[in-house]
Amino acid sequence: MRITSDTECAALTHDLLKGKCRFIANYAAALLGCGATCIRIEKNVKRIAETFGVHVDMTLLPSHVIAVVWDMDYTHSYNCQSKPIGGAIDFSRNIALSKLSWQIAEDKLNYVDAAGKFEQILLKPRLNKWLVLTLTSIANASFCRLFGGDFNAVGIVLFATLLGFLVKQVMLEDKIDVRITTVASAFVASVIGASGYLFGISGTPELALGTSVLFLVPGIPYINSGSDLFAGHYLCSMSRFIQAVILTICLSLGLCGGMLLMQMKFF
């Protein structure tokens, strides 16, 4: 097709920039949604933008990504805003998206092909929930053993995590607020964790109780908050920190509720 006028040329440039900008904004939003740090998002987007032959100015906010894409001469631009895609931390998606950025850079993919691969990554199902439940329970029980708990305490923690995490999964599937979910899950886990005291079946009941709620500690938001702080993304850092603190408070409320119900002394 021959371009006959400046207007058509401008329209073509506009469409190209639009496609690239939409892809970049959605890509950054997907990374933000699956729990990537801001510095990783910036690096990956820069890599993609260099391959696409555009300049990107990006603003990362806790609940939005704003991308402005310029052509190489800074004569045309396109602005796009996107909300985080996903909403739950997913490292397999995080890795797949990072690999996609490398694939775009190395294979010189255009934005249409890249968008196709991006859609495939988004459609990929999460890890099986029963496998996650089993692995989380074993991991939390291992923590109890690492801290010096006996095997009865390990068994108690395994059962507490199994039921507590199941409650969390069920409530989150039913779209119940994550804070209420955390309180309920911590409550159930702590009541089961107290069975070492109640039935006298463990020599280290305090470890069983203490480690029974460890699976609810929001470790990744805390780490990401620190990473964003060092990278200079103070808004995202504070947002993640406050989110993690709120979840920790909810965890504590559930734990205190369980201990009160089981009439245990705090000190």
């Binding site: 039921l163 199941l166 069920v170 009541v191 089961i192 089981m262 009439q263």
Partner: protein, 60 residues
């Protein structure tokens, strides 16, 4: 006092386990009905398929 606490412990566990089981049963029933409806629609489409397309006259 201990008996009272043990009763409370079993009450909490029982409530959680029964709640989760009840939810699983409700969801399983919903899923089964859903597939039944889809399956029926699929059959219905199959029976309404027009055989004229396979008629030898169409290929003459």
């Amino acid at each position: 006092m201990t008996t009272h606490l043990i009763f409370t412990w079993f009450l909490v566990i029982g409530f959680v386990v029964i709640g989760i089981l009840a939810r699983c049963i409700v969801r399983f029933n919903k899923t089964t009905n859903h597939y039944r409806v889809v399956g029926f629609e699929g059959k219905e489409d199959f029976f309404e398929y027009d055989d004229d397309d396979n008629d030898d006259e169409n290929y003459k």
